[in-house]
Symmetry: C2
């Protein structure tokens, strides 16, 4: 059975919601979980749910907070749940590590502890977005704010490999995020990357505009980490804005109070799908020697459960090695 | 009375919807309109609506198509409606020019015919987005795919001046689009621009994340034209996606067919507001010597009417001159 380490101390709602999510995941998924964190706190949380034999605990005395400087936090807190979790992954005691903690710290710890895969210049954070024809992998969503064209090529190779191995797509269609479909469109970085992608062995379909990411015209869409992060956060923000707007408009225009309750389940369904559009808050770090899954910092139990599901799916394929094989 | 030139031949739905929009605008707004385009075509369209004395016609025998290369189109088609319209603006026969045509061609014609204002390194396309506390001006949304930090500073100055002069805001709050609020966050361009903005005379409030653009925390938000264009198109695309999703979910979950018609007006109201979130398809070119308003290429009559309203509001302030005064 797949064993997954889970950072019990990471995220805005840790440890309560993280532990709750772990317990919920075990009810539905065939996995073993290793909770990493401060023993007394984890035990107290677990007692609320009744002990589950598929949860084991590993002590990590220190905690990296959400606002901390990543590099200094990781170098000074060798006993933190993030570092201890990465070490469990490195020593192959688990096949994936999930954390909702400080993104920069997770990245830093992954680079220092696991290292990058051979040939990978820059690991990237990727998210899977829903489209009518299956998920599209979108990267980088924040690991590399400044990119060179060769980095975007590397992201495309990693993303393509991922969609091939995890989703079984033979020759994934790779798109490049730009501001027009013609190859002359975009900034300097994108125009350079366009040429590299065209000359590559990948199934490059050309530029994709932001309005078309969710349409299913590509299996992988690459961009630099600045633009990718802007896209993901905007999607999140607009989802919330839209839902609020729809709720207010529908409630104010439906004078019949009796109808309002009928709308609630539909709006909740819309809310769930809107969350999917921003990647459900689950990002996968591609390009390091191990399966590292980043859950959204604001994840509640449901988000943790989704991150564990992604971790399981990825871990079942071994460790993704884009330039080599497992 | 304010006289505005309108490109009758520009946009996916020209000339039909453009002329229809012009006629509709005159019913509600105190303006004079000059339609620029091929006379016989414009007259045929006008006949459908009955002649209005506040519409005059100016002949332009050539048409720049939507897909044409901007620079060659403008240099080869001196008789096009875009060039003729710009010349009307330059010779002060009108105080604003509205076109839904080829964005690059409009930009090129504006630069060649009107020229940039003194001290402006790069004109920028800006849009006004709704927030709970009034509009936020967002720029650049596509005029400059590659920017230097000094360009972002210039955008901030132009935007600040616009919000001051057109919306009467004393010291507009200027934000810089980034991927985190801390000044260390962002790519190299943004970190450099942050320093320039901090040292400027502007009311700089720091970085603004994409999820917060619509929250009303700033009066002006600046970004490079690549990121800005990605943001606007994503907003547009997600709006359509959300609306489609809400319609399907609400209709499928409401078994009572009688309720469905009650929802329609509410959903139409939501649709209108979603369009506002992407700037209603009206962009203002800041930094050139004249008021140039770009309507969305897909504008129908309603969009043209909105663009004319913006043109009127801007023209009432004279020509915006950020570094100098009218």
């Amino acid at each position: 059975m797949i064993r997954i380490a889970l950072d019990a101390m990471g995220g805005d709602h840790a440890p309560h919601e993280v532990v709750k999510g772990a317990v919920a995941a075990l009810r539905e998924q065939q996995v073993e979980l290793v909770l990493v964190g401060q023993g007394d706190i984890m035990r107290r949380e677990l007692e609320k749910h009744g002990r589950d034999s598929k949860i084991s605990l590993v002590e990590a005395s220190e905690v990296v907070t959400m606002g901390e400087n990543p590099v200094s936090a990781i170098s000074q807190k060798g006993g933190s749940s993030i570092v201890v979790g990465m070490n469990l992954l490195k020593s192959e005691q688990v096949s994936a590590f999930v954390s909702a903690g400080n993104t920069g710290a997770i990245m830093t710890a992954a680079l220092l502890t696991l290292g990058t895969q051979e040939g990978v210049a820059r690991p990237a954070l990727s998210i899977a977005l829903p489209t009518p024809s299956g998920p599209v992998l979108f990267l980088d969503v924040g690991a590399n704010a400044d990119c060179r064209a060769t980095h975007l090529l590397c992201f495309a190779q990693m993303g393509s490999d991922y969609m091939n191995r995890v989703f079984g797509i033979q020759t994934p269609r790779v798109g490049l995020l730009s501001i027009g479909e013609e190859e002359s469109k975009g900034n300097k970085l994108v125009r350079e990357a366009h040429q590299l992608l065209k000359e590559s062995e990948l199934n490059f379909i050309g530029n994709v505009e932001s309005k078309d990411i969710h349409k299913g015209i590509a299996d992988v869409v690459v961009t630099d980490g600045f633009t990718g992060n802007v896209v993901v956060k905007l999607t999140e923000g607009l989802g919330a804005l839209f839902l609020d707007l729809a709720r207010r408009r529908l409630n104010s225009s439906l004078r019949h109070r009796l109808i309002s309750p009928l709308l609630k389940p539909a709006l909740r369904a819309v809310e769930r799908q809107l969350m999917d559009y921003s990647g459900s808050g689950v990002a996968l770090l591609l390009g390091v020697r191990g399966n590292v899954i980043k859950a959204h910092g604001r994840s509640k139990a449901e988000g943790i459960k989704r991150a564990i599901a992604v971790a399981k799916k990825v871990a079942e394929q071994g460790t993704l090695e884009v330039f080599g094989g497992t």
